[in-house]
């Protein structure tokens, strides 16, 4: 199978993730969409790695997974603390500082 197809899939996943970040209102769902974007990046990296026949892309994919895990830890901590003090995880409700 032509590896370019995987690139199309990666772009599609990335676009779905980005659209989700912009459209969804729940902080957890927004965050999951960001994770989807990161995984789309991973797919693209691994595909390019296969095309070029070197391992750089696969190694970056490992690093990305670690970063994504660290981001989950930090992100959930922040979102949960927000949820506990407001009883809402909606990003629209967090508007104390609107212009």
């Amino acid at each position: 199978m032509n590896p370019v197809n995987y690139l199309y899939l990666a772009s599609l996943l990335f676009t779905i993730g980005a659209a989700g970040v912009l459209i969804r209102r729940n902080a957890i769902v927004v965050f999951m969409c960001v994770e989807l974007m990161l995984n789309a990046c991973n797919l693209a990296l691994v595909t390019f790695s296969r095309m070029h026949g070197n391992l750089d892309g696969q190694i970056i994919a490992f690093f990305t997974m670690v970063v994504a895990a660290a981001e989950v830890v930090v992100g959930l901590a922040i979102i949960v603390s927000l949820f506990r003090s407001r009883h809402s995880a909606s990003v629209d409700d967090a508007s104390l500082m609107k212009l």
Binding site: L7, A10, F14, G17, A18, V21, A27, V30, F31, V34, M37, L38, A40, C41, A44, L45, T47, F48, S49, M51, H52, G53, N54, D56, G57, I59, I60, F63, T64, V67, A70, E71, V74, G75, A77, I78, I79, S81, L82, R84, S85, R86, V91, A94, S95, L96, M97, L99
Partner: protein
């Protein structure tokens, strides 16, 4: 059967030279001495986590403060040592198997980041501004960041005298990432460094003692938008990797220039694909411009600057900007000189809207922290004008501007922490009316910082702006200089307005009080004023230093 022969059923003796040759594993060589500034900070951060785990609560604050200050000072000494032995100029090279550049701009910016961080750590440690809670001196950070604001758990934590001393290890991790960011010499290191400094900053934003809901809100906004932007950066990295078959800056630059030697069939297929290159670069620049806070990627800046604890805001505003501009410079000047004609028009547009947008929106602000946030956006635009010059002068002027700007910023935010009323810091501008009558010294110091922001002669702001605009004009960006001067004039209006408000209006009866800080914040503000005046009156030495440091290694 003997043991050996049993083993031989499923093992084989390792050959000295593997069949096929060339597959032999080569251990990487790491130049520990040249990486020592980053390694010292990382080591201290790990130690600080251990301090958090093992030192009794009473001693933690002092242990953490001591450890942070010693580590930052040691890392700065290492930078000075490296610079003195010529790594900034003649011996500049790329360490850690191509991952980290040790050259003039990297050392200069790392030194700036460390000095700014040292001053910022002083403001983190300030414990005399808030009134004592139950006989315990408190700093700007929540007693128990995990407790719900206003809950019994929070009250119990305050009563027990808890403090969030975790801010020190978090700050150290952030500093480590900031040090690596402008020195990153491949895209992977760039991405990892970005995350290493961003994640602790997200947390630091969330742990304010007062106005905790705003603080948490700022952290959520910063986190979601920051993660969003770093996903774009990563996709850009993937596309550039696809284009060039490598993430090393030098190799990408060779492929962009068309001077690469070894062209594999796959590379021959992708290197003709300009869509990969242009889209990838646009996405990476988007990620960096987000960290810089350039319009149209600035939306997070005012909210995060306003909501975060003020010492953190100062740290973030100064150090992040320095590191992000360092990374941006390296990317544009080392990787993309072959693409100058493509990125310059885009960056022109970004610089113009950033300068004008920041200055114009700042006029309408009524909160001093938001005002400083928009001012920092406008300053990002001025620095971008120097970046766009694409000449050696462009590099050195940006280096100088960042040095000048970072101390003014930290000093200004440190002054903001002093002006307080019952609810904590009095950040609304109306409360600053008549401050000059009530406490002339604090108001005068703040006026000095505002004049430096405005770029009035005899302050560092003037020297920095002059250098940047001169470089931009010589680099063929005269229009940018005109726009820059115009938006400086607009910006001067609201800086002067604050000064007028402080000195020429009657103080209100229920106005805020000015807290008397300990030696820590006094030092921070004093250093800020001293650097502002020295760089303003006698900038030549530092301009020469920036000039010498203005060569990237490739």
């Amino acid at each position: 059967m003997s043991t050996v022969s049993v083993h031989s059923l499923w093992t084989t003796l390792a050959a000295d030279t593997p069949p096929g040759g060339g597959l032999k594993f080569q251990a990487p060589t790491i130049e520990y001495a040249q990486l020592s500034p980053i390694l010292i900070i990382v080591g201290a951060a790990v130690l600080a986590v251990l301090v958090e785990a093992f030192v009794p609560r009473k001693g933690r604050y002092y242990a953490q403060l001591f450890l942070s200050v010693v580590a930052i000072a040691a890392a700065f000494a290492a930078i000075v040592g490296l610079a003195a032995s010529g790594f900034g100029t003649t011996k500049a090279h790329i360490a850690a198997m191509g991952a980290i550049a040790v050259d003039g701009p990297a050392l200069f910016l790392q030194g700036t980041i460390l000095l700014a961080s040292l001053v910022a750590v002083f403001t983190f440690a300030e414990r005399k501004l808030d009134p004592e809670a139950h006989g315990n001196r408190v700093d700007s950070f929540a007693a128990d960041a995990a407790a719900v604001p206003g809950s019994d758990a929070e009250k119990a934590a305050v009563k027990a005298g808890f403090t969030t001393t975790e801010v020190f290890p978090l700050a150290l991790f952030a500093i480590a990432g900031l040090l690596a960011f402008p020195a990153a010499n491949d895209l992977l290191t760039l991405f990892i460094a970005l995350e290493v400094f961003s994640l602790p900053l997200y947390l630091l934003c969330a742990v304010a003692r007062r106005k905790r809901l705003m603080s948490q809100e700022a952290a959520v906004k910063y986190f979601l938008l920051g993660a969003f932007s770093s996903a774009f950066l990563l996709f850009g990295i993937a596309l550039i990797y696809g284009y060039a078959g490598s993430v090393s800056y030098a190799k990408i630059a060779d492929v962009v220039d068309g001077t690469t030697q070894q062209i594999s069939p796959a590379l021959a297929g992708t290197m003709g694909n300009d869509a990969l290159l242009l889209i990838g670069m646009a996405l990476i620049l988007m990620g960096l411009l987000f960290k810089v806070g350039a319009v149209p990627f600035h939306m997070w800046t005012p909210d995060v600057y306003q909501g975060a604890p003020t010492p953190v805001t100062g740290f973030m505003a100064a150090a992040t900007k320095v590191a992000a501009f360092g990374a941006l410079l390296r990317l544009l000047y080392v990787v993309l000189p072959g693409l100058t004609w493509d990125w310059r028009p885009v960056m022109w547009g970004v610089a113009i809207v950033t300068m004008l947008g920041g200055a114009i929106v700042a006029i309408t602000q009524t909160d001093i922290k938001r005002l400083l946030a928009y001012s920092s956006i406008a300053h990002g635009g001025f620095i971008l004008a120097g970046v766009i010059a694409a000449t050696p002068d462009g590099i050195s002027s940006v280096l100088f501007y960042l040095l000048a700007y970072s101390f003014v910023t930290i000093g200004a935010f440190a002054v903001v922490t002093l002006v307080r009323d019952a609810g904590g810091e009095a950040t609304h501008l109306s409360k600053w009316a008549g401050l000059g009558r009530r406490s002339p010294l604090v108001a005068a110091v703040f006026a000095v910082f505002l004049l430096a922001f405005a770029g009035i002669p005899l302050t560092s702001g003037f020297a920095g702006k002059f250098a940047v605009f001169k470089a931009a004009a010589e680099g063929g960006a005269g229009v940018l200089v005109v726009v820059g001067v115009l938006s400086s004039a607009v910006a001067a209006f609201f800086y002067i307005r604050v000064i007028v408000l402080m000195f020429f209006s009657e103080p209100k009866a229920d106005g805020p009080t000015v807290a008397v800080p300990s030696v820590l914040t006094t030092t921070a503000i004093g250093v800020g004023v001293a650097v502002t005046l020295v760089l303003g009156v006698a900038p030549q030495y530092f301009l020469d230093l920036a000039n010498q440091a203005g060569i990237f290694v490739r």
